[in-house]
């Protein structure tokens, strides 16, 4: 029986901050691990042990997500295999009896073959039941962990001849439930199957567009997933992987404030099996741009075919030169759709390694708003003229003369009449033509005459010509902010 600490990744000198934790006093790390195993208050995924104070902190789920910082006296232990609540698993370090062989004989044809009875391993021998499959296996160089876990199995007892190309140390025992995982061709799975533990693709960006930190570095995040220690996990470069049984592949990010995130990996069951992007139901575009969208500053980050955008400051999966520092005026933030180079419409590099870039899932504002007059200047030349949403807010400053929001009901609930309409009330004077700078769009509440009581509109009620609208003031943040009516008695 192995050491209880074998189930954990050890990282020295890292304090990991989590909200959900429990504090114990234990004499050593093993006792702390036992506390973690026995934790009833939450699903213990890691623990911290302070060597001077002999303090033991068991930590709850999602430990990778939390902030870490250096702390000399502490040792962090993170569980290697995450036992998700709905899929309880037993540890693998019991009597070896049966092997599941996960292999990728011919990528694109067979992603994974799980044959529980293909090979049987006992402490004395290994018997292969299928010779034909053996020939197709391509073995990786793999194995520090195997040497230790398989030391009881003599090379000759493995039942494979030298002609299979399988060196002594190539069996990785890294899955739970007495499962052995035979490493396979270097390609591995290029798409997401199950929880993606077998994923060996090259996506290296998280689902929110953050670039991944290389597994063999400890900056900005210290961690215990060191490639040399876990050769079977495919921890190459900074590619998304799932070495610990998470829900799907993930990576530590190069953002110091976000320790890790999941990656968006295309599913294997997509129409173009193996390499295709997942078919995504592309939502109807919510935002719009004007002109060519060069000053679009919205937050859309999905392409027209439903792919996620790559962050502009990231070079994964696509290297490019459209970086925020080279286009300082283009607002190349996060992975938002932009048009830094005068293309036809906002676009982005995609997180799909096979598709470099695409136009975004945005519509032209002209499609649903009134067309600009023929002599209007092109939107792209006017500062702020093609923001995704009008530069309006639903609150008013002063008497609301500058209000350009979209409230179109009066304080008494009557619907406003369109400013350009003369029905039911004929007014003639307050029209978009007579007051071109007053924002008399549609039937929105406005204050074209500077009424001291605020914004108003003609109503669609024939009995009521006009009424004020009730729109909250936004002045509070500037003029009335930070004042409290109640002062607390602070005795302590």
């Amino acid at each position: 029986k192995g050491d209880i600490l074998d189930d954990y990744l050890r990282t020295d000198g890292v304090w990991l901050l989590t909200r959900n934790k429990q504090v114990y006093n234990t004499n050593n790390e093993k006792e702390c691990a036992e506390k973690c195993e026995a934790e009833r208050n939450f699903n213990c995924r890691a623990f911290l042990f302070t060597r001077k104070k002999l303090q033991c902190l068991t930590l709850a789920e999602n430990t990778k997500m939390t902030v870490t910082f250096d702390s000399v006296d502490v040792v962090l232990y993170e569980k290697k295999i995450i036992h998700l609540k709905n899929t309880p698993m037993q540890g693998w370090k019991k009597t070896t009896a049966e092997i599941l062989m996960g292999m990728n004989v011919d990528p694109g044809v067979t992603q994974q073959i799980l044959l529980p009875d293909l090979i049987t391993v006992t402490s004395q021998s290994v018997r292969a039941r299928s010779r034909t499959l053996e020939k197709n296996l391509q073995w990786n160089a793999c194995s520090v962990m195997v040497k230790t876990t398989m030391e009881n199995f003599p090379e000759q007892s493995l039942g494979f001849s030298a002609s299979t190309g399988m060196p002594k140390s190539l069996i990785c025992m890294d899955l739970p439930q007495n499962t052995m995982h035979l490493p396979v061709s270097g390609l591995g799975s290029q798409c997401l199957s199950g929880k993606g533990e077998n994923y060996r693709g090259r996506i290296a960006v998280t689902e929110s567009g953050k670039a991944c930190q290389p597994w063999n570095t400890q900056f900005p995040h210290k961690h215990g997933w060191i490639p040399d220690r876990y050769p079977c996990k495919g921890l190459e470069e900074n590619y998304c992987r799932n070495p610990d049984g998470e829900k799907r592949p993930w990576c530590y990010t190069i953002n110091g404030n976000v320790r890790w995130e999941y990656c968006a990996i295309p599913h294997c069951d997509g129409p173009e099996q193996g390499i295709a992007d997942v078919p995504v139901q592309v939502p109807l575009p919510e935002e719009c741009y004007q002109g060519r969208g060069q000053s679009y500053r919205g937050t859309a980050s999905i392409t027209a075919s439903g792919k996620k955008c790559q962050a502009w400051n990231s070079m994964f999966p696509h290297r490019h030169e459209k970086t925020p520092d080279r286009f300082p005026d283009a607002d190349l933030r996060d992975n938002y759709c932009r048009n830094p180079d005068g293309d036809e419409s906002p676009w982005c590099f995609t997180t799909d390694p096979n598709v470099t870039w695409e136009y975004c899932n945005l519509k032209r504002c002209d499609d649903h708003t009134q067309k600009p007059a023929p002599n209007d200047p092109p939107a792209t030349t006017a500062q702020n003229s093609d923001l995704s949403t009008p530069t309006t807010s639903d609150c008013i400053n002063g008497n609301g003369k500058d209000y350009r929001g979209t409230v179109a009901k009066t304080a008494r609930g009557r619907t406003c009449q369109e400013w350009s309409s003369q029905k039911p009330h004929s007014h003639k004077y307050f029209t978009p033509v007579t007051h071109p700078g007053a924002g008399l769009d549609k039937n929105f509440c406005r204050n074209p005459d500077g009424d001291v009581n605020g914004v108003w509109c003609f109503t669609t009620d024939p009995e009521k010509k006009w009424e004020y609208c009730e729109i909250p003031r936004c002045s509070s943040s500037e003029h009335d902010c930070g004042k409290v009516s109640t002062r607390s008695e602070r005795a302590c």
Binding site: L17, V67, C474, S477, D480, V484
Partner: protein, 226 residues
């Protein structure tokens, strides 16, 4: 920390998940905008997953001053600082219980002798909280002190700061992410920090805040653009 008097911190909000479970804190900085910590919005990412509860003094009690808004838009600080803006689906009604806090007018940090307060729901480790909003006077420390080996040992960045007392500890001080550190400026309170991360309360000079004066331009520009 002491229980706060009703209405004494009218900008302190409770950020909740769609099932109404308290998730993080935040502050009202405009009738339609809330400032919180970006770490509170990592997952889920959809704005519709969050709701903002304003005007409350107690996380679970029913209070007449309660206003609830859903979140229309989430804007995270682009360089990765632990702050984010939430645009509410509609402006709140400003009153004595719901009121925005002021933001610093310059990029300068608060003066050395300023009177500052940390407000939080006062989760106490290992026990059930009484769910009431709490406050504590909380001095701001210079980063050269925060970064001393015996405190935070160099881990406080330039756009962060720490606070608290350099000796002893503050009971129940486990502040929650997204909440504010506000400082008195004449008759107003100005927010200088967003609670970001921190050690346990047994450690002095914690937690660490995002330095708001460094991000005022971003906040104003983001609100104007959206």
């Amino acid at each position: 920390m002491c229980n706060a008097s009703p209405g004494s911190w009218p900008w302190h909000i409770s950020l909740r998940m769609s099932n109404n479970m308290h998730h993080c804190a935040g502050t009202l900085i405009h009738p339609q905008w809330v400032l919180t910590a970006a770490q509170c919005l990592q997952r889920p990412t959809e704005p519709s997953a969050y709701r903002v509860f304003l005007g409350i003094q107690n996380l679970i009690a029913s209070e007449p001053s309660l206003q609830i808004r859903s979140v229309q838009k989430v804007l995270k600080e682009p360089s990765g600082a632990d702050i984010a803006l939430l645009k509410l689906n509609s402006p709140v009604t400003i009153n004595d219980h719901v009121k925005p806090v002021c933001l610093p007018e310059t990029s300068l940090m608060v003066g050395r002798n300023a009177v500052c307060f940390l407000t939080a729901w006062g989760k106490k480790r290992g026990t059930d909280t009484d769910n009431r909003l709490k406050d504590v006077e909380f001095p701001v420390l210079e980063n050269r002190i925060c970064n001393r080996p015996e405190f935070l040992n160099g881990s406080v960045k330039n756009n962060e700061f720490c606070g608290g007392f350099t000796f002893g500890s503050i009971g129940n001080c486990e502040a929650e992410a997204g909440g504010p550190l506000v400082c008195k400026d004449k008759d107003r309170f100005v927010q200088y920090g967003v609670t970001s991360w921190g050690l346990d309360c047994t450690q002095p000079s914690k937690p660490v805040f995002v330095r708001i004066p460094s991000f005022v331009s971003w906040i104003k520009n983001a609100m104007a653009a959206h």
